[in-house]
Amino acid sequence: MTITTTDLDPWQPGGTGMPLLQVRDLGVSFRTEDGSVQAVDRVSFEARAGELLAVVGESGCGKSVMALALSGLLPGNATVTGSVELAGQQLVGASRGDLRRVRGSRIAYIFQEPMTSLNPVFTVGRQVAEVLRIHVGMDRRRAMDRAAELLDLVGIANPRERLKQYPHQLSGGLRQRVMIAMAVAADPEVLVADEPTTALDVTVQAGILDVLRDLRDRIGAAVVLITHDLGVVADIADRVLVMYAGRVVERGEINELFARPRHHYTVGLLGAVPTARIDGDEQRLREIPGLVPVLEEPEPRCTFADRCPAADGICRTEQPPLAIAPESAHEAACWHPAGVGGADSAAEAVSS
């Protein structure tokens, strides 16, 4: 594979680069016919150059809404508060014109279903080239040449031939590679991938994850990967943000967080993934009882309390701050962190 990206930055993988995206107290609420819904509640994080940050959570945790809010992609009934700074530029409250210039060129998105993101009546080449013509200002010929290079960059064989094809002529995995090529066409500083492999088979997914890993390392973008799949997170993330009911409940470096989960929701999530059953052993998967609450407004409590095995009075009256958890090197928002004092979380998961 040839690398043709113009200015390669020497960022190390693992996010030693500078923070490109700084999100502080991001909040999103929607006005609906049935009242208001607080979808995202004071989420803060930063994404650094050359780093892959995974945002993990189940349906309704606010991860996708958060991703769209970063560049003002939400519908008119949404109210966004807080701060999103892209290399110093404030995006919350920015004008539509400014946001339009930012999207596609400095912050780019890849969505779950590539078929709905590609235009069925134009060739792949025309669509990739369009990004280059609009955001980079290339002429038609140069844009086509560069489009072929980009398809090569994302691992598509015979790129010249593929450029002439229409989306329906490509498989799901190839379409997703085309989407990635379009997303990185203008050398964005931040690449947001919202469930990019969820619609794909595992053997195809493995290839797409390799492309994302490769891009993180080679073009030095900050990659924000939104996913529900803990296996994907374990495979590719440098840092993780666990979201529940609109809030960040735990965040930290990948190995550390998976080895010592301190929030009971994270412990539950990890314990819910099916594992090998040992013959004769009546092993059960961990279930998380109850449902995700729908919040009308920020509540001064732990939103997981009603489903939590460790909750007591304080959990229902005061919101736990996101702070370095005991006996760990990462942050959790929990009054009674799991696995502290020798009772490690793996033992807890088995005994429950």
Binding site: E58, V202, G207, I236, G271
Partner: protein, 334 residues
Amino acid sequence: MSTVCEVVDLVKHFGPVHAVDGLSLRVGQGEVVALVGESGSGKSTVGRLVVRLLDPTSGTVLLDGVDVSSLSRRALRPHRHAVSIVFQDPASSLDPRMSVRDIVGEPLRLHGVRRADRAAEVRRVLEQVGMRPGVAERYPHELSGGQRQRVSIARALVSKPRLLVADEPTSALDVSVQASVLNLLADLQRDLGFACLFITHDLAAVEYLADRVVVMYLGKVAEVGSRKQIFTTPRHPYTQALLSAAPVPDPEAQRHRNRVVLSGELPSQLDPPSGCRFHTRCPLAEDRCRTEVPALREMPGGGSVACHLVDDRGAGPDVRDTADSAPGTETSRS
């Protein structure tokens, strides 16, 4: 172990599309057989053929020794209660205008069970799937995804089937909800002892639930084996690749395993490859693989495999040995 369901040389073509091409499998009493494959492998078509939602192009489906694939609709009716199916998406497989009571009781109504007797049965089966009796008055839109799937399972079990076909029953659910549905299926299967054909692409769920595993690729069986054998010593290169591609939620382990990234994608079922159907993506393919169709051969010590590279003792190469363990460097790509 007596055989509940036996499928012999099953073929299903949709016009030019070869969805299932000569598949045989057996599900014994009280056994969970996982049918694993990726999209386009034909696994869901097999499920629909087994419950006779589709008629096979050729081949037979035996339920308790009776060939149901050739029975007329009318003659089939007494056998319908012996087999049930649970679908992937409960939102689209439950009628939104019917109450849970009517949904779960419908199979009994179709068998001519009287209303009063139905109510008791519905209550019994709802309790079995862990739902309160009050749920019977509710409608699907009032339930969460996990509750809806419990209703689907209740509907499938109300007629006390001998065989339950579960087609991706947890794929549309969140992981914490998925865990409760998998636990439920495991409990019910152990308590009620039905045979289960568990169709899925989720290898983690297979490892949790299945006794035996049938791996399908492009309409054919690539490999059959016990859960333990498939997950510890897979023989077919496709099984090996599939296992290596499914990420495990353990960063240390995940980043130090040998991963195989297969080149290309599933070929078209309109024009399946000659010889071994996997040869276009197999990193180990030889000349013979391109021309000769490998037979599914039984292996000493159990299991069977359709691969030229596996010898008669069950030994063969492992594609994972060709892979590089460091992520980011690939063996091959499309």
